[in-house]
Assembly symmetry: C2
Homo-oligomer: 121 residues x 2
DNA sequence: AAAATAATTAAGCAATAAGCTAATTGCTTA
DNA sequence: TAAGCAATTAGCTTATTGCTTAATTATTTT
C-alpha cells in the first residue's frame, strides 16, 4: 500500500473540479436536468415541473450542478434562469477519456514502469 | 410536477447501464483504477498496492467497476487479473454527450415543445 | 496434508446523500 | 403596505457509501 493522496489524476485540491463534475453526473435526476437544459434555458420552476419531486429537492440538484460548473444561474426579477455551460462538461469528460483511453500520460507511464519492474529478477 | 420515472434518458430498467457507469465513475479511487488499467492489466493485489486503503476496500471498488461493465475479471491460478473494457466506457460517455450536447434527440424536442407552449396564450 | 498466499465475503460503523416539510428571502402587484 | 408567487435555506429522517477488521474460499508450495 502506497499513499499518494492525489484525488484526481492531476489535481491538487482536496475536492477537485473533476470530482465535482463526476459526482454531479452520478445522479439520474441531475443528468435529466442537463438534458432538459441542452434544449433551452429554463427557470427553476419550469425545471421542477418536469419532475415528481419537491421544488426544494430540485433546487438542491441545481445547486450541485452549478457548483460543478455545469450550469449557470441568472436571476431575472423574481425568476432564476438556468442554462447549460457546455464547455466545462465536455472538457471534463474529454479530459477523463484522454486519461483512460488511448494516449500516453504520466500515470500510464508510471504504471507501465511498475508492471515491468515486476517481471525482472 | 409530472411523474415520468424514466431513470435514464432512453432506458427502461430501474437501474440502467448508464446509471451504473456514472455511479462507478463518481469515485476518485475508481477513476484512478481505470487509469492504471489503461496502461496494462493488473492483478487485484497489484492494484491494491497502488492505494493506501485496505485490500477488501479495493476489491469492492473493482466489483463496482466490473458490475458497470467497465473492467473484466479473469482468474488465473490463485490470481485475479483485471483489465479495461474500453468500448463500454467510451460508448456510455459518448451516448451521454450526444444527449446533452449538440444534436437533436427526443428529450430535446419534448423540452423545446414545452418551452414554446409556455410562450403562447 | 499442512502452511502460506491471493482474493473475496461478512459484519459493523461513521460519514454522506437524497428526499421531505416548514420557514425564510426577495420581487411584484393589488 | 399587504398579499402573493418564485426560489432557496433550514432542520430532520432514512438509505447508501466507503471504509475497517475478521473470517472464508481457493490455489499453490513445502
Amino acid at each position: 500500500m502506497v499513499d499518494e493522496t492525489f484525488d484526481d489524476l492531476a489535481e491538487g485540491s482536496s475536492v477537485g473540479a473533476a470530482q465535482r463534475v463526476f459526482h454531479a453526473l452520478s445522479s439520474a435526476p441531475r443528468r435529466k436536468i442537463l438534458a432538459y437544459l441542452s434544449a433551452s434555458g429554463l427557470t427553476a420552476g419550469e425545471i421542477a415541473d418536469r419532475f415528481s419531486m419537491s421544488k426544494p429537492a430540485v433546487s438542491q440538484h441545481l445547486s450541485v450542478l452549478e457548483t460543478a460548473g455545469l450550469i449557470r444561474r441568472e436571476k431575472r426579477g423574481q425568476f432564476v434562469h438556468y442554462s447549460l455551460i457546455e464547455n466545462n462538461l465536455v472538457n471534463t469528460l474529454n479530459g477523463f477519456v484522454q486519461e483512460v483511453c488511448p494516449i500516453g500520460r504520466p500515470i500510464k507511464k508510471e504504471s507501465q514502469a511498475r508492471a515491468r519492474a515486476k517481471d525482472l529478477p
